[in-house]
């Protein structure tokens, strides 16, 4: 996959520098607090990776996947099942491969379907995987859950997630510059045209879905030590799938870093709501989500773009006015 442009533009370099600096600053957080704020930051980091990985696929293709919980859970279980026998990094790799493989199978089976069927299928799949794991555990092992004992603290997990975020951003950037990225933009515009210019649309979508699913699996793997005790309802929690979609759409899917704009406010909101209204979280979240969709249909990024355009237009008007004034003065 050679890049469309062999060079890095100045703007890209600036974004990369800014991003690296932001990550470095974020990485110092555990030096100041290892309680509430670290916990909150860890959630933010987790959803940043999940949503960005999700957007990698769903942004250009407009397919809404509700399978995140399945990939996440597979990652978690890869670690939980092997933690006593294999080194952790290897298990993370297993989590990646296993969830990417599942994504590949799902992709081959469903990506020829239209969007609506895909949504339903992915939702059903996540549930199916959960049921299968539950069934396997109750029939072949003694307990319903698995213990994951490691030396990892929240700080370690947080740093792993930050590193993973960097990897996902770099991957997304490389994909966007590649033939695959260009192919996906064309597919997102018009699949018939895509096929007729020579794009193997099914292959491109499956590939990207695998990359996306694989990263979601890694997040699940990294989070396993945090659970300590892993059981299907927590590892395959369908709320993960829904929250990923909500946050990603809130941020906007047009650009790689846009989900960030949804993740930060939503994670904080969710945290506050569950602290103050523990019995009404779903209700409050639902209302918040409807408000967001109504007020910011294209996500925060769409709002930002509109503001920028407005500002630009405003500036042009001002400049024209000044020009007119200047002429008046001259005459």
């Amino acid at each position: 996959m050679t890049p469309l442009l062999a060079t890095v533009t100045r703007k890209e370099a600036r974004i990369a520098l800014f991003g690296a600096a932001a990550l470095a600053v974020a990485a110092t957080l555990p030096l100041f607090d290892t309680g509430f704020y670290l916990s909150l930051a860890l959630n933010v980091a987790m959803y940043v990776v999940l949503c960005t990985a999700w957007t990698l696929f769903s942004g250009p293709t407009h397919y809404i996947s509700l399978a995140s919980a399945a990939f996440f859970g597979i990652g978690t279980y890869s670690v939980a099942l092997g933690i006593d026998t294999l080194p952790f990094p290897l298990l993370v790799a297993v989590g990646f491969v296993a969830s990417a493989a599942l994504a590949g199978l799902v992709g081959i089976a469903t990506l020829r379907l239209s969007g609506v069927y895909f949504v339903i299928f992915t939702l059903g799949l996540a549930e199916l995987v959960r049921q299968v794991v539950t069934w396997a555990q109750t029939n072949f092992t003694h307990g319903v859950g698995l213990y994951v004992f490691t030396d990892f603290t929240e700080t370690h997990i947080y740093w792993m997630l930050l590193a993973l975020a960097a990897i996902v951003y770099v991957t997304g950037w490389l994909v966007n510059r590649s033939r695959l990225g260009f192919a996906l933009r064309i597919i997102g515009n018009d699949e018939t045209v895509a096929r007729h210019v020579g794009i193997d649309t099914a292959r491109a979508k499956v590939l990207l879905f695998m990359i996306s699913g694989g990263f979601i699996g890694i997040v699940g793997a990294c989070l396993a030590p945090r659970f300590a005790y892993v059981e299907p309802p927590s590892a395959f929690n369908p709320m993960i799938s829904f929250q990923v979609v909500i946050m990603a759409l809130l941020g906007g899917t047009g650009r790689l870093w846009a989900p960030l704009l949804g993740v930060i406010p939503f994670t904080i909101l969710f945290d506050q709501v569950s602290a103050y209204f523990p019995n009404h979280t779903s209700l409050v979240i639902g209302i918040a989500f409807m408000a967001v969709v109504y007020l910011l249909p294209r996500g925060v990024i769409g709002f930002v773009d509109d503001m920028r355009r407005l500002k630009k237009r405003f500036r042009i008007v001002l400049v024209e006015d000044e020009g007119a004034l200047g002429k008046e003065r001259a005459s």
């Binding site: 933009r185 018009d190 007729h196 020579g198 649309t201």
Partner: protein
């Protein structure tokens, strides 16, 4: 006219058939197209012309029959594979990529089609083609701000960008005003002079008469005539197909 068609058929259609349930849209049609030829495919509305192009480009699979490009069978293969083999097309209802710039629209053809270029090569091809179809300097324009004829030009440039061995035009001249039509005809004439092999579905008879070497006439899915344009258009079965079936 400089292009003298060589003898080797680049496209062979042998008994192509497409049925939609009980409706046979293309009924065992056979014809060859030689390299460098510009063939007009005409017939009343609903006679199966677009379906025929869809069979060649792989948008639809034939119910039976074979279609070969330069001796290799393409019928039954997916559209993207056929595009890579060297078939490019435009659509009766123009299809452009709305969220991409004009340049990117054309690059799409250069990057993935028959030619498969990348990076600056693709860019150069696209810029040259925009120039050629009359959109010089408009590369950065968003397609939403362009007119209908510009969309048609863009679509043609995209098809040409893959340097196809066979170009399929589905009523590319339809909907143009008289001055645009003149430009459009000139453009196709130039393509023909370059030696491009083209099948054009067209309702504009002046264009068929002035451009085509040969034309194939379809009526209700059946090929009813095939030959020299001036000759074919005076044949009684062709005249009656146009006057009889199509009261529009």
């Amino acid at each position: 006219m400089s292009a003298t068609p060589s003898l080797a058929p680049i496209l062979s259609i042998d008994g192509a058939r497409k049925a939609f349930g009980g409706l046979v849209a293309v009924n065992d049609v056979s014809f060859d197209v030689r390299e460098g030829e510009l063939v007009g495919l005409i017939g009343p509305n609903g006679s199966g012309k677009t379906t025929m192009l869809n069979l060649i480009s792989g948008a639809l699979r034939p119910t039976s029959g074979t279609i070969s490009l330069a001796g290799a069978r393409i019928s039954g293969r997916p559209a993207h594979a056929i595009a890579r083999q060297g078939v490019a097309r435009t659509f009766q209802l123009v299809r452009i990529l709305p969220s991409m710039t004009a340049l990117e629209n054309v690059m799409a053809g250069a990057v993935f089609g028959h030619a498969r270029t990348w990076g600056d090569d693709a860019r150069h091809v696209a810029v040259a083609l925009l120039d050629r179809v009359g959109l010089a300097g408009r590369g950065d324009a968003m397609t939403g701000a362009m007119t209908y004829i510009d969309h048609k030009r863009l679509e043609l440039a995209r098809a040409l960008a893959s340097n196809p061995r066979l170009l399929l035009l589905d009523e590319w001249l339809a909907g143009l005003n008289p001055s645009e039509l003149k430009l459009g005809i000139e453009l196709i004439r130039e393509l023909r002079a370059d030696g491009r092999t083209i099948i054009m579905v067209e309702h504009v008879m002046d264009a068929i008469r002035s451009l085509c070497d040969r034309c194939v006439v379809m009526s209700s899915g059946v090929k009813i005539a095939d030959g020299d344009v001036a000759d074919v258009l005076t044949r009684p079965e062709v005249v009656s197909a146009y006057l009889g079936d199509d009261d529009a």
